[in-house]
Symmetry: C5
Subunit: 88 residues, 5 copies
Amino acid sequence: MKIGKVINNVWATRKDEALVGQKFMIVQLMDNNREFKGSIIVAADYIGAGIGETVLITQGSSSRHMRGLEYSPVDAIIVGIIDEEKES
Amino acid sequence: MKIGKVINNVWATRKDEALVGQKFMIVQLMDNNREFKGSIIVAADYIGAGIGETVLITQGSSSRHMRGLEYSPVDAIIVGIIDEEKES
Amino acid sequence: MKIGKVINNVWATRKDEALVGQKFMIVQLMDNNREFKGSIIVAADYIGAGIGETVLITQGSSSRHMRGLEYSPVDAIIVGIIDEEKES
Amino acid sequence: MKIGKVINNVWATRKDEALVGQKFMIVQLMDNNREFKGSIIVAADYIGAGIGETVLITQGSSSRHMRGLEYSPVDAIIVGIIDEEKES
Amino acid sequence: MKIGKVINNVWATRKDEALVGQKFMIVQLMDNNREFKGSIIVAADYIGAGIGETVLITQGSSSRHMRGLEYSPVDAIIVGIIDEEKES
């Protein structure tokens, strides 16, 4: 899994039917120096993450192993929101 | 998912039979500074993306979870066109 | 597989149900110069790795081929702890 | 998919049985500046690509979705040869 | 597939049961300049590769498509040893 910071929502009116009704967030991943200056990705969100929160991201086929996503063309999801006070 | 900008169509006359009739676009991905200077990829397009549009890309096995692609040797697809006015 | 050094535990109170009760560790991967200054990832741990240990990490769909993880949205796991005295 | 230039054939006398009789090519991928100075990979070839040709490459599990490769330990294949006159 | 040079064996006494009895090698991959200064990975070896040999590596789910590895949490294997005299 990867650690990232939620930057913004992203909207796509024209999209694959299987993605209708899903919430997508732009997330910047943590780099090798532990700063949020790494890769920019878009992840589906079912946890209810907000802009500015630090999140845990699962990528690849494993991201389709969440409720009802088995046949969705999604390759990244937010699987958790990292607790602030304990993250080093 | 990744964000990219559509650069051009790509044509391949000599290709695997399973790819005949499909539309392929060259897309440059967004880099860590949010500029479209990242990786260059080719994605199958079923949404109808045009040159210059900002698109959402799904990669890997998840890209075969779209209509009729289960047995196609495709590893990247355009799954949406990002709305301009709301993208930050 | 990748080689990494365990940096810390990570806690996420708000997370996908399928991840409840699992232990997650932040791991920094070995870079091209064999120093632990590479990518930062989070891996599920069933081996019992401790902070500071050198571990073997499996990523992708192969990480779900461990006891009971077939339907879990996990994309990285610790599969072993590397013996110190023999590692070059 | 990725774009690459075929550099050479590669031969491996000692190899997994499932790879016997297959043709493998070394390919250098296009980098972010659209030059063929990117990653070096080896891809299985069923299209009949020649040294110096520009090819389309599929990677990952999708590369096993070609004739008879379902059980082969191959993670990259040449799926097409890109037409020269139209490629920008 | 990737090309790499075998650096050393790696031993992990504490590991997942499914990995017991397997041989693991540390391999450094070929970089964009064709030198073995790229990523460091660990691959399972069933071919019998020795330290210093140039090998072909398959990664991802395709690496589990070898004898008996379908349920093993392995994400990289050595699938061949590259013939020296013909490699350019």
